[in-house]
Symmetry: C2
Subunit: 206 residues, 2 copies
């Protein structure tokens, strides 16, 4: 049991070290030596968990999916907004998530199709938009697939721009501004005033 | 004169070769050897025009600004839409522009602040939005600076996602979808139906 626990911790420390190295250098420039140097583990221990740099990157991409926890909200458009806000906040503090986003955005020799991250995000948002549509929250005539894809694409760019200007410090604010521009083309008029486009209170997350 | 012309052609061929190499490999992995191999020029000729890889990258960033030619349109919101559509089209075919965008988006050792490309785009769009505001095309209460920044950020992400899915083939379509969602939060209601959110006819460009 203690050994299992140690193994789990080693694996997590490799992922965090790799995330930092990918986040700083990009995938192609990162080496397993750089990663090892930050963990204090042996090369054998690294290879025990991950046979290659690519295997580490794959595990990081999986972390991207885990960050898409759907908030429990009676108003489903509020859940979509909160999902992007929580993702924005986690990008500020979580190097593993940052690295997974960078792997999706940059064109590298990493061979997993970068669509994976977009597919995960689009699917999570589309599911909520379909529920919102069933509840009558969406304007008639809106194509929710187009909406999901536009939200994911726009958010991808907003977080890159926020990274360039403020190291993502202003990302929740930029996300809120985006929502205030988008909602009149997406939500029924009576709902817009009731939607919160600022980050949810911290104690409401879990 | 003939020599001047030859010099100009060499310079352009270096820029195009560099754009291809940066677009394929990213800035850090690109070498001046790769660039030279595609031009058939001598190393001396390369260094005559550009003392370093960074100097080439700087010239490519300047090309980004040149691509932002403001369309002449009586309706200024239409000019903003057309600007993004023309940019989308040029991204499909112009490797120099693609490379300049990639230099802005990816975090590399290239030391020019990536804000430059965002600043160029935001300034061009903000100028048009301010004219649109003066002409009464913009909804009361809209902050045109926020709008310009949101449009640039969102477009940045949409073109990355379009690159990942279709090598930018569907970028004009994604751009049109984005505008149809955004306009109800930006334009006065009476104007929206009169705005074209498809690419402008080719003969209307110059």
């Amino acid at each position: 049991m203690a050994q299992q626990e140690r193994g789990k911790r080693s694996r997590q420390s490799i992922l965090e070290a790799a995330a930092q190295v990918f986040d700083e250098c990009g995938y192609d420039a990162a080496s397993t030596n750089d990663i090892l140097a930050r963990t204090g583990l042996t090369r054998g221990s690294l290879y025990h968990h991950f046979p290659s740099k690519e295997a580490i990157a794959l595990a990081l991409v999986a972390a991207h999916g885990e960050a898409l926890t759907v908030p429990d909200q009676p108003v489903k458009l509020q859940a979509v907004i909160d999902l992007t806000m929580q993702f924005a906040r986690r990008l500020q503090t979580d190097p593993v998530l940052r690295a997974s986003v960078r792997l999706a955005v940059e064109q590298t020799s990493f061979s997993v199709p970068p669509e994976t991250a977009y597919e995960q995000s689009s699917a999570a948002i589309l599911g909520l938009l379909q529920e919102a549509e069933e509840r009558g929250e969406i304007l008639p005539g809106v194509d929710v697939r187009e909406a999901a894809s536009t939200i994911v694409g726009a958010f991808t760019g907003l977080q890159i721009m926020s990274q360039a200007y403020t190291k993502r410090e202003d990302l929740p604010e930029r996300t809120g501004v985006f929502w205030r521009f988008l909602l009149p083309g997406l939500a029924i008029p009576g709902l817009i005033g009731r939607l919160r486009t600022t980050p949810p209170p911290v104690d409401a997350e879990s």
